[in-house]
């Protein structure tokens, strides 16, 4: 096995049937109802072992090789030795990667990747949708291709939507005269949406998507918006947030803040 010359540890990938596993002395394991929750000293998160993994964990005392342990488990569970051996090696490799075994190097899990939704690029078609309006009639993207549109991801339960409602209402005349249709894709039903719209005199076309099935704003919070050209293509980047959506509306009518 290839030990790191500095630490004397091996990589978990090198664990095989001849490896003699021993749990680290500075690991705390709490077993409740036959399931273990394990914490390595200095770690910020725990590892949860189900009943079978906990059985294995309890055998990692440095007294037997994985091949010997596999034979014991195969006997007890009357299972095929090779299957048990492979499962055991895979499980112990995982325990080793978590930094819970003596002589095995900890491997940090890959960083979760996160990025703000970017939406479609300017000039690209936005994802098609077909959603009911207040009268129950299904409206599709192709029905709205006669002119430009400010398409807003909306929710009557969103405080930031509430805050920008008067700003969008102020811009309605300019949007209308500029040939820009204001369309909300919203949560809730007509009854839930009506008070906020009426309070500010907002009169967008409202399309209801309480189940969030429309891909155009999939994974995007509220408020968010696209300016869409008369052919259903994005004329702006996906614009997210109460600070930015009103500015997009203003830019749609040729203004600037």
């Amino acid at each position: 096995m290839n030990e790191d010359p500095t630490t004397g540890e091996i990589s978990a990938a090198e664990i095989g049937g001849g490896f003699v596993p021993r749990s680290r002395a500075d690991v705390t394991a709490i077993v409740l109802d036959g399931e273990a929750v394990v914490l390595a000293d200095g770690a910020a998160s725990v590892h949860y072992l189900d009943e079978l993994a906990t059985l294995v964990w309890n055998t990692l005392d440095g007294a037997a090789t994985l091949d010997e342990l596999a034979e014991d488990f195969a006997d007890v569970f009357e299972a095929e030795l090779e299957v048990v051996r492979n499962d055991l090696v895979t499980l112990v490799q995982g325990i080793g990667r978590a930094g819970l075994l003596q002589g095995v190097a900890y491997e940090a899990p890959p960083e979760p990747s996160f990025a703000w939704p970017t939406g479609v690029a300017v000039g690209e078609p936005i994802p098609a949708f077909k959603l009911p309006d207040a009268t129950g009639v299904d409206i599709s993207l192709s029905d709205l291709k006669d002119r430009r549109m400010l398409l807003v991801n909306w929710s009557p339960r969103c405080g930031f939507c509430t805050m920008i409602a008067p700003l969008l209402a102020d811009l309605q005349p300019e949007l209308h005269s500029g040939g820009v249709r204001l369309v909300f894709i919203t949560l809730g039903d007509a009854e839930e949406n009506r008070p906020l719209l009426e309070e500010h005199g907002l009169q967008p076309m409202v399309l209801f998507d309480d189940e969030r099935t429309a891909l155009v704003f999939a994974g995007v919070g509220t408020p968010a918006a696209y300016l869409v050209d008369g052919e259903g293509r994005a004329a702006s980047e996906l614009t997210i947030g109460a600070d930015r959506v009103p500015d997009l509306a203003l830019s749609a009518v040729g203004g600037d803040r």
């Binding site: 409740l32 399931e35 929750v37 914490l39 000293d41 725990v46 949860y48 930031f160 919070g221």
Partner: protein, 274 residues
Amino acid sequence: MDKLDHLGWVVSSSFAIGDVRFAVRSTSHAFGEWLSDALGAYEVDDVEEFLYSVVVPDPPAGGKTKEFFILYKGSSAILRTLDPATLGRGLLTELEGLGLHQRDDAVYIVASVVDIAGAAALLPASAVPGLAKLGRRAGRLGVGIPGQLTAAIDMHAASVIPVGPSLDVPGDALERLAHALPWTGRDGLRFLDEPETVRAFVVPSRDPEASLQPARKGYALAQLAGRTLNLERVGGKGLEALGRFIDRTPCYETAWKDTTAALTQLADLLGEGP
């Protein structure tokens, strides 16, 4: 301030608590003045990231309001209240949370104690916004909405205790806020002030369709440990305290698919007594 102004924000202040630097903005000058006064020990030069936003309703003619004070964290409304003192307490409690990962005097968890049918249950903080949306139905179900999203487990007694204050804030800060924003309504938001014996710990289920059912203790412990803010600081002793808490607390899991149904089941369960 242009961006502040056109969305109704009129004041902002920047603070540093522990290693977290953040800004708070508000629609109220009076609230902004109170905030600078209450958290003067932590005020710093301009920070661009608005971590918190506070919406203060306009004062009504009659001295009472039915509009909510709203505390946002990012774009999520984490507190809605009719009472400015509750707003202030909620914000200060939230700010206490910013330094909890550096403390080792208790195990700090992102969870809330919720009154259900006269008994206390510990729920993950992720369930609380769903409770808050119940409005008056919460009262009919016998559910008291919590005002805070953090709690602590005592390292020795392994019981639920309040988060001990550590911020340097004037003792009369909340009274001053009540003077600064004198229009008040009443709501029943609950803050944890004393150690609490909880009769149930409810965790999210792995089954997205699951209704309320007993949870395995190992799974419940893993869920609680996963909601710990300072595990790195409290280490194995902290995990042992969580283990003792879980061992003696009835644990349940639910998918929270239907909040009302889950709470009704929980109320029935807790109403039956120990």
